[in-house]
């Protein structure tokens, strides 16, 4: 049904999005926790966190190049000390996707945290639960629907990321060519329109599957 190239693009897309969401999730939870508590300076933090949502993805990709490029300070340091290289690698695509979809996760988790009943936290305190204990056993379960639906929405959005990926890690088949990049490549090639249409249908199907999965999961958890 799918050609080997198409399968490669599909699997790569799933891997990039999966890694991006999984790695960003703990950080998104902590950020949401910070923002929900509203200490001083959270307006600034909130602004920075939500920046990728409104910036052109191309700009995000460019900024990633500036910071994590092969000759950029952080990129060079990571390469030399830890052997991690983002440029021209699928891990770079995951990093770009994580950054772009980070605000979606933070927002969903934060809403769930803010709608959690503070009375239950008080009750937990009177029952002897310390801070970390409350976070893990009371706050986290209350926020779980938000965490799950945030993660699934972010995953679905990451599948569609284009601008940041192509700017940061280029369009290398099998390494950084996710589904949207494959569609773009097909459109650039002469006579590639039918190929682009096939990939487009595949993208639509994936998006539908994960959006309804998110809906289903959050409803199951509420129950």
């Amino acid at each position: 049904m799918l050609t080997p190239a198409e399968t490669a693009a599909l699997m790569l897309s799933l891997r990039v999005s999966g890694v991006a969401v999984a790695c960003a999730l703990p950080l998104a939870f902590l950020t949401a926790l910070l923002l929900a508590k509203k200490p001083v300076g959270t307006t600034v933090v909130g602004g920075i966190v939500h920046l990728p949502l409104v910036l052109p993805p191309v700009a995000v990709g460019y900024l990633l190049l500036v910071v994590f490029g092969a000759r950029a300070p952080v990129g060079a340091w990571l390469d030399q000390t830890l052997g991690i290289r983002f440029v021209f690698s699928w891990t770079g695509a995951a990093l770009a996707s994580a950054l772009i979809t980070f605000p979606l996760q933070v927002r969903a988790i934060r809403l769930a945290l803010e709608s959690a009943d503070p009375g239950l936290i008080e009750a937990a305190r009177t029952l002897g639960a310390r801070r970390l204990d409350r976070l893990v056993n009371v706050t986290l379960p209350l926020a779980l629907p938000g965490v799950v639906s945030g993660a699934i929405t972010a995953f679905a959005a990451a599948l569609g990321e284009f601008g940041a990926i192509i700017t940061f890690v280029s369009n290398i088949p099998g390494e950084t060519q996710t589904l949207p990049l494959a569609i773009y490549a097909a459109l650039q090639a002469p006579g590639g329109e039918s190929e682009a249409a096939r990939l487009c249908v595949l993208s639509i199907l994936l998006a539908l599957i994960f959006l309804s999965a998110g809906e289903f999961a959050s409803r199951r958890i509420w129950r």
């Binding site: 008080e122 305190r125 009177t126 029952l127 002897g128 639960a129 379960p141 209350l142």
Partner: protein
């Protein structure tokens, strides 16, 4: 046990300046809504940090601000909130064990089986809080607080969100607990009836200040102390004097003898007796040939009229009674302080084992 509370706090326009010391087994914090009851509970539990204050339980200082403030999670003070606050994603069993699992000492917890049995929780254990009725939730919340092995239990209007039927379902459990447990309780309420059933000591609050404090039997029939709420007829201690052959028992109190339906307890047992103000009628001459068993000779001490109602405070021996009649009846009888009257008691509520 002794609970020492001294609080100075400000929340918006509301200012709290309350202090009291109680030695009661069950102390009621009594007052209208907005009088500061819940703020005091939160301050004792350590959920709010007052601007200034001192809270000590049996000499263990929990708050001494500025300076010392033990956080709620280390106070070992159980709280039963009005809205139960059960953890929605845990079963009843896990809710009950939440505090138990975290308690360093389980000395005051009783056994799980005992608490489950005391509160009738066995059929609920596997269920989720969502499916429980209001009364069931209250019972679970009470069990959860008990199993955390607290050194004191704060009950913040645990019955206020329940209808009369549910309230009647929970009150016996609370009474059982008050009788059984060695655990001191602070019971917050604006219902004179509940306070009369449970408390031995009462602290009356008004506008964030302590307005009166005293023993329940004394305070709840003091028209000045409980101004603004329907008064209680009387609450006092009595002793079973005799079981008569005609299906009645005689109980003696400081002011006379009451005749009640035969009681199952032995002669000499101590009882707590409650009368409703609405159940006490007044007559100027000793009534003859009436169906009521109890007629007490009293003196009118004070009168408070509010709208169409008149609350008549009476003294019967050393016991204070309050009769609620209509203002019209009061005028017709010409009741004034100092007048000798007869109180006809239509109904007497008796409970075993008083404070």
């Amino acid at each position: 046990m002794s609970l020492e509370v001294f609080l100075r706090h400000r929340m918006g326009v509301f200012s709290l300046a309350a202090e009291f010391v109680t030695h009661g087994k069950v102390t009621a914090l009594f007052g209208p809504s907005g009088s500061g009851k819940s703020t005091i509970v939160a301050a004792i539990a350590g959920l709010i940090r007052p601007r200034q204050g001192r809270v000590a339980l049996d000499g263990r200082v929990l708050t001494d601000l500025p300076g010392l403030f033990v956080p709620a999670e280390r106070r070992r003070i159980g709280v039963v909130f009005q809205d139960a606050r059960l953890f929605p994603r845990m079963s009843v069993r896990d809710n009950l064990l939440f505090g138990w699992r975290r308690a360093e000492s389980k000395a005051n917890a009783g056994t799980i089986a005992h608490v489950v049995d005391l509160l009738g929780l066995a059929p609920l254990l596997a269920r989720r809080p969502r499916g429980l009725s209001g009364g069931e939730k209250s019972r679970v919340a009470l069990g959860r607080a008990l199993l955390a092995s607290p050194e004191m239990l704060l009950l913040d209007e645990p019955l206020a969100s329940l209808d009369a039927a549910r309230r009647g379902e929970i009150l016996p459990y609370l009474e059982k607990l008050a009788r059984e447990a060695k655990l001191p309780m602070l019971y917050v309420s604006h219902q004179v009836e509940e306070v009369a059933r449970l408390a031995d000591e009462v602290v009356v609050l008004e506008n964030g200040r302590v307005k009166a404090q005293g023993m329940a039997f004394d305070l709840l029939t003091d028209l000045d102390a409980v101004a603004g709420v329907p008064p209680l007829g009387a609450v006092f201690e009595a002793t079973i004097q005799e079981h008569r052959g005609d299906g009645l028992s005689l109980i003696a109190f400081d002011g006379g003898v009451l005749t009640v339906r035969r009681l199952p307890h032995s002669v000499g047992s101590r009882l707590r007796v409650r009368l409703r103000a609405e159940d006490i009628m007044l007559a100027l001459a000793e009534p003859q040939a009436i169906s009521a068993n109890n007629v007490l000779a009293c003196t009118v001490k004070a009168i408070r009229t509010s709208g169409d109602e008149a609350d008549i405070q009476l003294l019967c021996g050393a016991t204070r009674l309050v009769s609620r009649i209509t203002a019209a009846s009061r005028a017709r009888l010409g009741l004034e302080p100092g007048l000798a009257v007869y109180a006809i008691v239509k109904s007497v509520t008796v409970e075993r084992g008083a404070a």
